[in-house]
Symmetry: C2
Subunit: 304 residues, 2 copies
Amino acid sequence: MKFEVTIIGCGSAIPTVSRKGSSQLVNHREKYFLLDCTEGTQYVLKELKISLQRIDHVFITHAHADHFLGLPGLLSTMSLLGRTKEINIYAPEEIETFIHTFLTCTRASLSFKVNFKKLNFNSPETIFENKELTIESVPLLHSTNCCGFIFREKKKPRPMIASKISEYIIPHYLISGIKEGDDLILPDGKVIPNHKLTEEPQKSFSYAYLTDTSYHEEIVPQIQGIDVLYHEATFTDELKTRAKQTKHSTAKDAAKIASLAQVDQLYIGHFSARYRSLDVFMEECQSIFKNSHLTFDRQTIKIY
Amino acid sequence: MKFEVTIIGCGSAIPTVSRKGSSQLVNHREKYFLLDCTEGTQYVLKELKISLQRIDHVFITHAHADHFLGLPGLLSTMSLLGRTKEINIYAPEEIETFIHTFLTCTRASLSFKVNFKKLNFNSPETIFENKELTIESVPLLHSTNCCGFIFREKKKPRPMIASKISEYIIPHYLISGIKEGDDLILPDGKVIPNHKLTEEPQKSFSYAYLTDTSYHEEIVPQIQGIDVLYHEATFTDELKTRAKQTKHSTAKDAAKIASLAQVDQLYIGHFSARYRSLDVFMEECQSIFKNSHLTFDRQTIKIY
């Protein structure tokens, strides 16, 4: 069972040889979710031998070039490879316009249905849910409508204590209910409380992807206690004025948010192309929040 | 003095790890011309340390995804890097629509002017000219409006025989005319014919970029005697039916065109993603046209 994040690009508006724009792939128990889709995303996925066709959900934070220019090529390749499965794209409405224009200009139709789901930038919403996971939007403070995304595992089932099944001759059809917390009622009416039949469930983990944004304390309650936080850090402290002007964050901003939200680990990215070495980012982060890490292209972060 | 072509991508609609879609950079005497602009073109140029800002002319053969999806990112990066020089884009009108939609969706304006120049797909035209070079369009036979491009060096100046300058005391202002072929008229009215003052000029070279197209003999007169011909060869002979259906060429088609046009060298590309080894392409080409070569990503072909 996996919950991991592969960094496709950790750069910003101007790509460098080692840092593409923003894109990440979340693999949650072999379900793939793409976060942003910078130019060349399909190439990186191929190099990493990750099947494009396993991606069923794409989340675009905002309509800036470094976050979505890989989308037409990705959809086009999926189609040429014969995809029939629908895909869901959670994005600002400009992305739908852009993809429609692309298809009109190329006189192409895709071999599968695309469901565009418009993001709400005014308040957080649960935008995806399956049996194991919810994904919420987090409105951010950028120069255009932008929101981040939080992946939260749902409460996991309580593992059965194996010996209890034979001890109480528990029928198969009751097991899943007990794993969800039901007590057992025996034929004679006696109640065996759930905690005597099951063990504590595994911890449920969470991951937040927050890019692009100014320092924005209002998000802290929503990301409180997140296990792994990715927060953009476009600049070092020396360029904090530039960060404010362009509605981006510094390494210290990211670390302050991580500290206020008492997250477990902070990863930073969206580094400006002007930086060759990222050492100063790390120093500035760790001066405020010890458990800070840099990201780099093609890295995989294990949430557990 | 250079005339060379760098292959940015030699693949086709579905990119592979080693073959991006179509794009090439022509460097003619340090003037850069981009032919098609597949997704990730800007990354390859950066890796090859080729300055994006030196490209002043972009030629898009047709509005299929593998030929132009790198354009919005390229323009965006040029702008973020502060370009002020105008750029000329010779393309089908769909490309202008696509770029305008991109700029509208991102609420961006570029720091420089883009001059879109609509291609004529009905007959060949000289679409660019400078002191040293002309570029012609070549209407091709594809599933959408498509044309290739021919780079032809103009007749080069005749080098002066140095000793003649002092022998006839030729004033400086007459030199460029003599290099262009003028005779010299001495003060006494005597005429010194040009061939006694100058040497034969260097050969003028030519390069043709023809992709995507069915086998199309009608282009042969226009490319007659070209020095280096790049012709698409998406399939091997085994898939000639598929080539016809999709309006592409086989390796043999490309070689037949090269042979009929009596070009000096043939380079093929636009290989379908289904081929791992390209050996069969080479065998099939060389069975018809000996001086055939494969292309590969990041290769540079010296025209001279």
